[in-house]
Symmetry: C2
């Protein structure tokens, strides 16, 4: 099955937003084994949209449009699709009731133009929108299926996951199942070199790597007649990857380093506190991105000035004088201080030079010390995260990822 995506919206052509819906839908389709050959973005212009739809129809089995389903006069995707596919737009009573309910729950009166959102091509399969007002739908004509989704990512992406994926699975002659192996601290080419023979010999499941800011994600995808058969195919491949890459694999079917750190802490009833200098709160922000962090994370300090490192975290002034703020000794004292001040089992610290200024020959931009304290004992490590194309933001993100990854081994050894 060959697919293409058409995003409708002048805001995309003006660069006000990036086409993140396109990325999200492509990822999901790729997991189903559906090839995506084109993304197209057109403005809110029915003539140009019509030409793109006609072309897409002539070359793709599946077309997914995003955007242009709203209540205003320039939302014209449904009208244009109906024209190209020769369908009438008819009122879908259930959709209208849902939209009326949406407004009623908010104590607002539904304006008349919102009725337009309940007009759908005759004979389509309706995708109810639990995240907004405009429903999506699938229209089939001959061998081509066209799916329309609303544009806002907060609606489009859950609709893709909850409505479109189950719909598309019905057309599949088998089951496709993926597992995601997450690797930290090895480059993509190192991962590929170590897995080359495995990747070349394994067709079902297939193994596809992709790199993502210091991480490598390996998607292992099996196709079989049942979920159980997929799982039987997947298990030995995932085991072989984990055996080859060892501790660099930090999780399978997990979302992020912070998620694994939190769940390992919870499993053991441990608590963690942070002391951040160069990362300025990003590490605690990442830990608290996830609901339920409060069980294991009492808090942290952003000790941007030396006075705070000394006064709040108890870093000896002598240490700062002798070794500087960016040093193993300071990182150690900060980590111990965090655990003590916040009464936590573990303390983690980051102190470094995020740039663009502040570097020296001895400590160039990107030099970061990480400290990890476990019940009174502490270890530190130096990270060299600089490079000609490494921004301040990237250095800060990488520093926090390294800290989270390093924490894992300490937590597991407690």
């Amino acid at each position: 099955m060959n697919a293409e995506l058409i995003a409708v919206g002048t805001e995309l052509l003006l660069g006000d937003i990036a086409n993140t819906d396109g990325q999200f839908i492509s990822q999901r389709l790729s997991e189903l084994g559906i090839n995506v050959f084109y993304h197209t973005v057109v403005g809110d212009n029915p003539a140009r949209l019509k030409a793109e739809l006609e072309r897409a129809r002539s070359r793709s089995d599946l077309i997914i449009t995003t955007g242009g389903l709203g209540p205003t006069y320039d939302d014209l995707t449904k009208e244009t699709v109906a024209e190209v596919f020769g369908k009438k737009l008819v009122l879908d009573r259930e959709s209208l009731e849902r939209i009326e309910g949406y407004f009623a729950r908010r104590g607002r009166v539904m304006t008349e133009n919102n009725r337009k959102q309940a007009l759908l091509p005759e004979g389509c399969e309706v995708f109810a929108n639990d995240w907004g007002t405009a429903p999506g739908c699938a229209v089939t004509d001959g061998s081509t299926t066209l799916i329309m989704l609303p544009g806002p990512p907060s609606e489009c992406q859950p609709m893709m996951t909850e409505r479109v994926i189950p719909y598309l699975r019905r057309f599949s002659d088998g089951v496709i199942l993926s597992r995601l192996v997450r690797v930290f601290g090895l480059g993509e080419s190192a991962v590929e070199a170590r897995l080359r023979s495995l990747m070349e010999s394994s067709l079902n499941p297939s193994i596809a790597p992709y790199a993502k800011e210091g991480e490598v994600l390996l998607r292992v995808t099996a196709k079989a007649s049942s979920r159980e058969d997929c799982e039987t195919l997947l298990a030995p491949a995932v085991d072989a990857i984990v055996a080859e890459l060892g501790d660099a694999v930090y999780g399978v079917d997990v979302d992020s380093l912070e998620q694994v750190v939190l769940s390992e802490l919870k499993k053991r009833g441990l608590t963690l506190a942070t002391a951040e200098s160069c990362s300025g709160g990003l590490l605690s922000k990442r830990l608290t991105d996830l609901p339920g962090a409060s069980e294991v994370f009492p808090g942290g300090a952003v000790s941007y000035s030396n006075a705070v490192k000394t006064g709040l975290l108890g870093v000896p002034e002598e240490t700062l004088r002798a070794h500087g703020a960016v040093s193993s000794e300071t990182a150690a004292a900060m980590a111990l201080g965090a655990a003590r001040v916040f009464c936590a089992d573990l303390g983690v610290s980051l102190t470094g030079i995020a740039g663009p200024g502040g570097g020296s020959e001895e400590k160039p931009v990107g030099t970061v010390w990480c400290g990890i304290a476990c019940r009174g004992r502490v270890r530190t490590l130096r990270l060299d995260l600089g490079g000609p194309t490494r921004s301040r933001g990237l250095i800060r993100r990488l520093a926090t990822s390294h800290a989270l990854f390093e924490l894992l081994s300490d937590i597991k050894n407690m």
Copy 2:
């Protein structure tokens, strides 16, 4: 001048990355007054790329491609463009020397396949790449100009700014200049309603609003024969917007709320400390995203647990018992505590329910209290940031934006 963008790369179709180059280039072209009518993404497939190039050539004055300029066998953009435009690829000696120099500076040997990057269409204008190895170029044929840029955003985006914009300005019969007015706390429709007559009557400069997570950006763009004439056109329009929207305008030609807060603090020699509960470090992360924050930001506390609110920030246990952690009283005590602990002129606090769990009828998800302490005095305000489509992440981001915006008036009144 009508333009379109073609991004080349299978990684975009697999959803490994979003087409952020497309967004960036669109923004820059829109600032030049160039209309972008299409974005297309194709994989590393010369036949499909050729078809897209031919179509683009038939309908656009300017085509910008991104990606496919690298050294490997599947980088085929130049070869395909040369075929469509009937040009030979010839070795550009200066580009080759730059590439050799790039490797030499890194102490690495240039492999033979890197020579390929110095092959460029005959007669093109070369855009030197100071951020990587593959040069870009512009090819003109009849009334169509095609520009090729490398794909990695860290190369594509500076090449667009430093090479392509000056190149395109040469074709313009005048100068185009924009100013960006940033508005917080008013919705896009409210801004449009208040500026409608101004927007409708002002053609040069034009006024274009766009919404961005709690903010509205107004781009005011003038076209004239000189930079001075543009500035003369822009000034009264910007003044009229500021007069109409008042304090909701937090800056003109600034990047972000945090930038304005930091610069206002610096101007007055003031310092600020943070105490964060629901935002978990995001506020201090935003303040320290910018280099030089250390002058005005000694540090902050992430007081996720009540024990930290009491022990570190001095929130009375009685306050937490009587009013709860999410209350005006707790926010006030946290802000005062932050200023005291970190010896800062101002303290700002956030405590609330970011969700998805933890809400109640009285304090639903999205209820956030913000406290601002100025030299012993404190004020608080309640933010209601919840809503059916508001994620935990969005609520946290909006809470920090509100805190930064509110801080501005306190700083300016000191």
